[in-house]
């Protein structure tokens, strides 16, 4: 499959596909961070996570339309507003869902699976009703368009760089929150032993709700970033949820570093193989590799070494 290309071409292809993979990696990381926090914290498998992401994408779309119509002079800055709003909208909806639905189903993992799947269908239909079945795209401000030529045959897109920068900032932010703040310590205590966390004085219900909101809010930001690499439709989120689960399981649940490493390896493999093979063949090969590695390391890539 490499035969038709010269060595110089090949290296350019690898670099550019690698960069495209980095954008995919960014969306995956943001999605997987939220999912991993929620799964690690409450053992809840949130099948509606993709729809929370798409909510963020629609908020970004609304924001871009609003700025175009009413505040064209500020259009260049709308994306920052959109990301903040996407975080707040998805986060608020996450907290509402936790309060109305999830908290009644703790200790019943299968029921949460079904309930959140049902929720994802409801949300999809709601998006279809409100925004219409056609996919929408957002207009990027001019400074985010175009690309920077690195060499004659290699170019990197500016919006890609932007997405990667945003992801880095958010990932570092989450890491600091989880491992340096008091709230993070409370989250980890609840993750580790819920009744005991209550018995040392931690309000576990409040921690649950905030964590769920946080995870969904990060998915909202992922949705914002997603608008740059794909168009937003009612069912776009579904395409990502399976991959994201794969990443969480592959990385080892409850390990932030593992999640990042696994998102990186899966998105890079996918992106590079997609150029040479068809998209579905690329997926098959990625899945096979993941299955193989999980058979050798069932606990995932990274785990903490500690007596249980």
């Amino acid at each position: 499959m490499f035969g038709d290309y010269s060595l110089a071409d090949l290296s350019s292809i690898f670099v550019m596909q690698g960069f495209a993979g980095l954008i995919l990696f960014s969306v995956y990381v943001l999605m997987a961070l939220g999912l991993a926090i929620i799964f690690g914290q409450m053992g809840v498998i949130n099948m509606a996570h993709g729809e929370f992401m798409i909510l963020g994408a629609y908020v970004t779309y609304l924001c871009s339309t609003f700025f175009q119509t009413y505040l064209p002079s500020l259009f260049g800055a709308y994306f920052f507003v959109a990301m903040a709003l996407a975080f707040l909208a998805s986060g608020a909806m996450g907290m509402l869902v936790e309060w109305a639905l999830i908290r009644h189903l703790y200790k019943r993992p299968l029921d949460t699976l079904l309930a959140t799947w049902g929720l994802s269908l409801i949300l999809q239909q709601a998006y279809r009703t409100i925004f219409g079945p056609r996919e929408v795209g957002v207009e990027l401000p001019s400074w985010m368009m175009g690309s920077i030529p690195v060499t004659d045959s290699i170019e990197v897109q500016i919006n890609g760089l932007f997405v990667i920068a945003v992801t880095t900032v958010i990932t570092v932010g989450v890491a600091v929150l989880m491992y340096r703040s008091r709230f993070g310590a409370q989250i980890r205590a609840v993750m580790s032993n819920r009744p005991m966390a209550g018995a040392v004085g931690i309000d576990t219900e409040k921690v649950d709700r905030t964590t769920f909101g946080l995870g969904c809010g990060i998915a909202g930001i992922a949705g914002s970033a997603f608008t740059m690499i794909g168009s937003t439709g009612p069912t776009s989120g579904q395409l990502y949820i399976v991959d994201t689960f794969l990443i969480v399981v592959f990385g080892g649940a409850a390990s932030l570093l593992g999640t990042i490493a696994s998102a990186f390896s899966i998105s890079q493999t996918q992106s590079t193989l997609e150029f040479f093979l068809s998209g579905s063949m690329a997926k098959v090969l990625t899945l096979l590799a993941v299955v193989g590695i999980l058979m050798l390391r069932p606990q995932g890539l990274f785990t903490l070494k500690v007596r249980r």
């Binding site: 008091r182 580790s192 005991m196 966390a197 018995a199 040392v200 004085g201 931690i202 219900e205």
Partner: protein, 248 residues
């Protein structure tokens, strides 16, 4: 002589003093099966009470019910005059209860210092009080280590430090000697008495080891099938009789 009736003769609390922890007619159940059938107990300020009994007699259930981990079916629990019966665990901690569970239940992936800090939640303070490290110097030495990598005895000290961090009025310990070597058990008895003397808090400790109970407790209760069947002050305890309750 023999004191087997629950209406034993020890006045639980001296007249004129208010009980720090007061339990009356406490029933609790796992689903439909009732485990505690009406426990009455008053613990005076600064008193150490040992609750003894064989496995499966309700010691741990009593502790968990007091902490709000197992739901109360009926009866009341009062801490320093405030009723906590309907409160959630964390609110009970805020009202002065602290808990060292059976098996210690350290947050194993968190460092020693982080473990103690979780106990500070209800106090609002951020810094681990120096006197906790003075009391348990080994924890200061190991403050950066993960809790799960400590030995059993060190974990026990950590669990006690974590409970004390919330500045409790009543400390509940569930079988603290389980799985701990004898020399450390004696050390722990001294520590418990020191905690009581320094902080003036009341301690309820559930135990199977009679010698440990005799060492630390001011008063010994025996619980059997979810009821208190024997009660006596340490001074006039009949060891042979309590031992009979504990034999299998």
């Amino acid at each position: 002589m023999l004191q087997t009736s629950p209406s034993s003769l020890v006045p639980p609390v001296m007249p004129g003093t208010q009980a720090m922890l007061s339990i009356s007619d406490l029933h609790s159940a796992y689903g439909q099966s009732e485990v505690l059938h009406g426990i009455d107990l008053d613990v005076a300020p600064g008193e150490i009470v040992a609750v003894m009994g064989r496995n499966g007699m309700g010691k741990t259930t009593l502790m968990k019910t007091l902490m709000g981990i197992v739901p109360t079916k009926s009866g009341t629990i009062t801490v320093d005059g405030t009723e906590v019966t309907t409160l959630k665990s964390h609110a009970r901690v805020a009202n002065g209860l602290a808990y060292v569970p059976q098996g210690r239940m350290i947050f194993s992936t968190m460092t020693v210092q982080e473990n103690i800090e979780t106990g500070l939640t209800v106090t609002g303070s951020r810094k681990v009080p120096q006197d906790l490290y003075t009391m348990f110097p080994v924890l200061l030495e190991m403050k950066g280590r993960r809790g799960g990598n400590l030995s059993g005895g060190q974990q026990q000290q950590l669990a006690i430090a974590r409970a004390l961090a919330s500045n409790p009025k009543v400390l509940l310990l569930d079988e603290p000697t389980e799985g701990i070597q004898p020399s450390i058990i004696r050390e722990m008895g001294r520590t418990l008495k020191k905690i009581r003397d320094e902080r003036g808090l009341s301690i309820v400790v559930s135990e199977q080891v009679l010698s440990f109970a005799m060492d630390v407790a001011d008063r010994v209760l025996v619980i059997e099938n979810g009821s208190i069947v024997h009660e006596s002050l340490r001074a006039d305890i009949d060891e042979a009789q309590v031992a009979r309750f504990l034999s299998v």
